[in-house]
Point group: C2
Chain length 493, copies 2
């Protein structure tokens, strides 16, 4: 086939544009109906074995066509979601997503720019989003930022800068073994595991993470922190950074950020805040005061795909000291040298501020979502989830068979079914089975955790679709299933 002939030219473009257009419209209709009717379906259901088996087999060599690809998706994937779109999904900690966010993700992929750098409008969108987030958290205009995949990467970036600034040697060139003393980093025992992962990656090792005890409210014990820093210095170690947590994953606790900022200033330490869960709650009138001091951090990790419901992935890291940030990541090889004219012009080179060189246009869904809804609506959604957590707490304390197992922090409620007269082992078994039945019956999807050695249900209400009646339904089901199980304490596998 002559490659110069337009007709019959094979590419990855549709061979039949009207047919592809019709299919695209069908996808949009199906998708909007899917979201609009989510409440009518079970929260979650397991993938049947015959459906799971459909995912075996080799890649097709020959084209099956866009329609066949969509029909495979519609038949085998769409009916078996994780469940986090549903109003009664409260597992782990994730957002629902939105219609507008999904459409923005489509538009981003249509343009398909590479946000590594260069001169094009998409970079201006990301720059504006970062400015908005800096403003939101009270960071100065001179600070830098980067949209990243999520909290794990945001924490990794912040801790990388902390390491490079605090090492006392040129660790980018010489490696961490060149540091005059072993570096240590401090966070509470409730610090998210991704921070440990980051320190392992960075070559500091998990032993560099000093786990500071918490108080009864699960916030970091400041006196213990000070003692640990003092002891490490006395032992010849090099404290470099304190990680404050703004919303622990287990119980939503927010460390005293102003006190940590004071301590870090006094001790000359980098102050990093892991705000993956809670930082965006600065938008909520009933939470904002708990986050005071976050504006004093040297770096902050925040997630927009959690409590702001932007579709995955959308995280952000902010760094107060822009040169320190850039100096930790910029390489600017020859073929990426920055100019002032042409495609490679301008000064928006986001690849200089993080791990990735090629970067998708994740800024668009954030930018369009903030325009669509305005920051105040996000604030109201967050505030309502916090109120709902306390509403749920009220339902729990009103029932003698139920027991709150931790203070309610932010939007996270930990509790267990406890009809009395059973030891912890028996209660663990009942609650374990209770959770599985809640999920398997499609009623609700909490997750679980262990609080002071007690297995408990954990309801993390980052959900813009949840209504009070959803929590009534949860409690009704917990009581019903719990009563059945406490008659026969079958043990979950």
């Amino acid at each position: 086939m002559d490659q110069d002939t337009e007709s019959g030219f094979e590419s990855l473009d549709p061979q039949d544009w009207p047919a592809m257009r019709a299919l695209a419209h069908r996808m949009v209709d199906d998708a909007l109906t899917y979201i609009e009717t989510v409440r009518d379906r079970p929260v979650w259901q397991s993938v049947p074995p015959e459906i799971a088996a459909s995912f075996e087999g080799p890649a097709p060599r020959a084209p099956e066509g866009a329609l066949a690809a969509y029909e495979a998706f519609a038949a085998h994937v769409l009916p078996y979601p994780m469940g986090n779109l549903h109003p009664r999904f409260w597992a782990w900690y994730m957002g629902n997503g939105t219609v507008g966010g999904a459409l923005a993700e489509f538009l981003a992929a249509v343009m398909n720019p590479n946000l590594g750098g260069g001169s094009h409008a998409a970079n201006l969108v990301e720059a504006q989003v970062i400015t908005w987030l800096k403003d939101m958290l009270g960071f100065p205009a001179s600070a830098s930022g980067l949209l990243v995949s999520g909290g794990s990467m945001a924490n990794l970036v912040g801790l990388t800068v902390a390491r490079n600034v605090g090492a006392g040697a040129d660790v980018r060139h010489q490696g961490v073994a060149a540091a005059p003393r072993p570096m240590t980093v401090y966070g509470s025992v409730e610090v998210h595991s991704c921070n440990q992962k980051a320190l392992e990656l960075l070559g500091l090792g998990s032993q560099a993470l000093r786990r500071v005890p918490v108080q009864d409210d699960y916030t970091i014990d400041l006196a213990a922190l000070q003692r640990m820093i003092d002891a490490d210095r006395a032992a010849g170690l090099q404290p470099i950074c304190v990680i404050g947590t703004a919303g622990t994953v287990n119980t939503g606790a927010i460390d005293d950020l102003n006190a940590l900022a004071d301590l870090c200033t006094r001790e000359g330490l980098w102050f990093h805040v892991d705000g993956a869960i809670g930082a965006v709650a600065v938008l909520a009138d009933n939470v904002r005061h708990q986050l005071r001091g976050i504006e004093r951090a040297d770096s902050v990790a925040l997630d927009l795909h959690k409590w702001m419901h932007i579709p995955f992935e959308a995280g952000c890291v902010l760094v107060r000291d822009e040169p320190a940030h850039r100096n930790s990541f910029s390489l600017t090889p020859e073929y990426l040298e920055h100019g002032t004219r042409g495609l490679a012009g301008g000064n928006l080179w986001f690849s200089d501020y993080g791990v990735q060189l090629s970067r998708q246009f994740r800024a668009l869904k954030v930018w369009m979502s903030i325009k669509e809804h305005g920051l105040d609506r996000f604030g109201r959604m967050i505030a309502r989830n916090v109120e709902q957590a306390h509403y749920l707490g009220g339902l729990i304390v009103a029932q003698p068979q139920l027991e709150l197992t931790a203070p309610i922090g932010l939007d996270i409620v930990c509790f267990r079914y406890n009809p009395g007269g059973l030891d912890d082992a028996a209660l663990d078994a009942i609650n374990r089975e209770l959770l599985l039945q809640l999920q398997e019956q499609g009623i609700a999807a909490p997750s679980y955790t262990t609080i002071r050695n007690k297995y408990c249900l954990r309801v993390a209400i980052a959900n813009h679709r949840s209504q009070r009646s959803d929590f009534d339904a949860l409690i009704e089901a917990v009581l019903r299933i719990g009563a059945l199980l406490s008659g026969s304490t079958s043990v979950a596998s």
Copy 2:
């Protein structure tokens, strides 16, 4: 407002579903037309100052609505793309994207699952995609893999495992300073900069990257590599890994992978292949033989958003030794403990194999694209780009004013305008301006590099829309602009 009242309940869902549906259909129509007509527009144009100014200003507090958000996008973002959708975009190294890929990205965001783990169909899609990619590269079924943001992350993951396996100490726990000897990693001087970035992150420092000379064809000099390893061992260092490059970014050179595999076996070193550019060319009949030996690597980084045109981001890392891979990243904290039933059931926990905990459904666009097109079509697109590179090379050598500045590797052509009688400084200035004018006039978007101290245009043809006439047009414009410039050698800024 009573939160239990369905009517008037504020959420991030559309308040007017029919209006949102109509807007979504408009977006789809606009988007498909945009892609269908891309050839009619300039490849690239700079963002006018008044448009750039529209990206200033604070975030809206009040809702502006989805329609206003879309209209801002349509007016200020869509008309100023990077240009990589266009048939004459050959800058850096990136794909075009596709209609089907963009729609899949929409569907992924509609479902909005978190591919960190759990029991739901999206994880089965990613598992199948990884199986397909293992099959494609000749990796065993027992190998592990992970879809990641791109080559930078894929290389980071591979090198993390290499570090942890080769250190001779428990570096995850104790840090790299615990290694008995300083670790070294080898790659040619043409190795991609992201590998240096990875070693800096990993705490080994850029000095750990030993840059091995290349031969005239820009592939690694195996004898020099052997000498450097021997010298480092003699100096008390600990060689741990060799990075083979399958497609260098400057000239598309592919190292002798079988020879590197032999050397790594003999020396007991981890063999990592950075195949971000070239690995997927195993699908192309005219390239496959050059990639022999890739199936022997311990780890491979590949990119699907480059030569397979999946929308950003879509990279993949494969690791032969699954336990070593998992042991480098798994933490599995309590609240993520894996069960056998319920939402948290199953054994597909991708967060155990990489940096991210929350992960978007990037597998869907790969899965649907491979179904839509079949692997063989991707192979034909790749093979055609290689043929086009040689076609362009033929056009260049036929013109006395043009000079090939490197051997054509894969789909990458480096050349310069050289009418004779000018020194390299003058030629650099002419070619610099020539490139900018090609871009500014919207004709074509090559990028540039420096080969043996000569500035040259670099045409990287990862483009399923390019036709031979596009290269004719490039050469015609280069000759026209070059002739004008060599009369007046104005210097680009």
